[in-house]
């Protein structure tokens, strides 16, 4: 099953990103896990320096901004076909 992680230290934008992803997932009628990763060593392990970042199936697909719902949907679709 696909897993989506939101990397961030708990800032407002990270929460916003999680909400956008939840919205996108709902629209696609998918059943998948959205995990928040907050500890610094784990975030750094992905090589991410600007939060919030999004990781789909262990691959970083976005960092440093809150994407729009349409962009998240595109990211998920891309990951599905990969």
């Amino acid at each position: 099953m696909m897993e989506i992680k939101v990397l961030g230290t708990g800032c407002a934008n990270c929460k916003k990103t999680k909400a956008v992803i939840a919205d996108a997932v709902k629209e696609l009628h998918l059943d998948l896990n959205i995990v928040e990763v907050q500890d610094i060593p784990s975030i750094m392990a992905y090589g991410v320096m600007s939060t919030p970042a999004i990781v789909i199936d262990e691959k970083v697909v976005s960092s440093g901004r809150v994407p729009a719902k349409s962009q998240v949907i595109e990211m998920i679709r891309k990951a599905q076909t990969a």
Binding site: T9, T51, S70
Partner: protein, 363 residues
């Protein structure tokens, strides 16, 4: 809000499916931005007339009354500053879509002190940065071999020389002061970073776990963005920033208008004027722990100057509020030992202090 509508009034270009072989898709975002810019200009250049019409014709106030003057001033200044902010933020955030923290790290990796500090301060202005990701950014820089002093140049410039401060200064004091602020802000960032980099055994001031951390190399490789995407990102950031600061702008200008009207001229000349040598350190000491964004501070600064405070003192106050803050230090405490935080704050504060004196002396 009128100015927000300008940029959000037309629907996002990115949501359209690209039509194959159409030059239209390349031109459309530019067309929309040009239209928005023209609308912006029409509104901007008619603000004074509208504000006066509202106050004197619609509300029937006498142009000579104090309240009428204050109201016309307020009705002109608030939309003017908000429009300037919106335009400036849109331009800057568009430029920022060409940069990322990851790319900046690559550019700075292995750079020597000196060149590195100058580059880092410049990149601090154009790299998208939020103080909430200061910690991962710091670790990422250090792990990539960016010297500590160079990293600090970045961390000082990024919050200090920001688009909100520049737009506000431009709107209230003109482009010369905005440029002066930008120039000295960059200079402080460069020099403070170089000084910090030369402190003996500076590396021991970084928490030990930072050196042992392994940083992945996995970060999203920057895919090329189309102009439509860049403008969409810029529009989103603009809306976000403006919705965050507009209330401070209005409150700041209101406080400023109050001081204009009710505090006697030169009331502050004694305590904040050029002759009071201790006013600059006092302004910095008050400003450093304070946390406020540039938008709320500048109208107050404007009013203070109007009442006899020296420009250097007022700018030093503003710089210390914007560049250093208690919340940021608490965030950085996770990766820096207290000793290094004290070195960092002291160096920047001294830089701001000298700048304050310099402005008071030359202006």
């Amino acid at each position: 809000m009128r100015n927000d509508m300008l940029l959000s009034g037309s629907d996002s270009p990115t949501q359209d499916q690209p039509t194959p072989g159409g030059g239209w898709q390349t031109w459309r975002p530019w067309l929309l931005v040009s239209l928005a810019a023209m609308g912006w200009w029409v509104v901007y250049s008619n603000l004074l007339a509208v504000a006066e019409w509202l106050t004197f014709d619609l509300l029937g106030m006498a142009p000579t009354s104090e309240l009428g003057m204050a109201l016309a001033f307020f009705l002109y200044d608030v939309p003017k500053i908000l429009l300037l902010l919106t335009g400036m933020i849109f331009v800057v955030t568009t430029i920022r879509t060409f940069f990322s923290a990851e790319r900046t790290r690559q550019l700075l990796g292995g750079k020597r002190a000196g060149v590195g500090n100058v580059l880092a301060a410049g990149l601090g202005v154009v790299t998208p940065f939020c103080s909430c990701s200061a910690v991962p950014l710091f670790i990422g820089f250090v792990e990539a071999g960016v010297p500590l002093g160079v990293t600090f140049s970045f961390l000082i410039a990024a919050p200090m020389v920001n688009e909100v401060a520049l737009a506000m200064l431009f709107g209230m004091f003109g482009w010369q002061i905005a440029l002066l602020y930008m120039g000295t802000g960059l200079l402080i960032a460069i020099l403070a970073g170089m000084v910090i980099g030369r402190v003996p055994r500076i590396e021991s001031g970084v928490e030990d776990f930072v050196w042992q951390m392994s940083v992945g190399n996995d970060a999203a490789s920057g895919t090329r963005m189309s102009w439509a995407e860049r403008f969409a990102v810029a529009r989103q950031s603009t809306r976000e920033i403006v919705s965050k600061v507009w209330l401070y702008v209005v409150a700041g200008i209101a406080i400023g208008a109050f001081i204009h009207g009710y505090v006697p001229e030169d009331a502050l000349a004694g305590i904040m004027g050029e002759d009071a040598w201790w006013s600059v350190p006092a302004a910095v000491a008050i400003g450093v722990p304070m946390y406020a964004n540039a938008a709320g501070v500048i109208p107050v600064v404007d009013a203070l100057i109007g009442k006899g405070a020296a420009l250097g003192t007022a700018l030093a106050f503003m710089m210390s509020v914007v560049a250093l803050s208690l919340p940021e230090m608490i965030i950085l405490r996770r990766v820096l030992k207290l000793r290094l935080i004290i070195v960092f704050v002291t160096t920047v504060a001294v830089g701001i202090l000298l700048t304050g004196y310099l402005f008071n002396f030359i202006l």
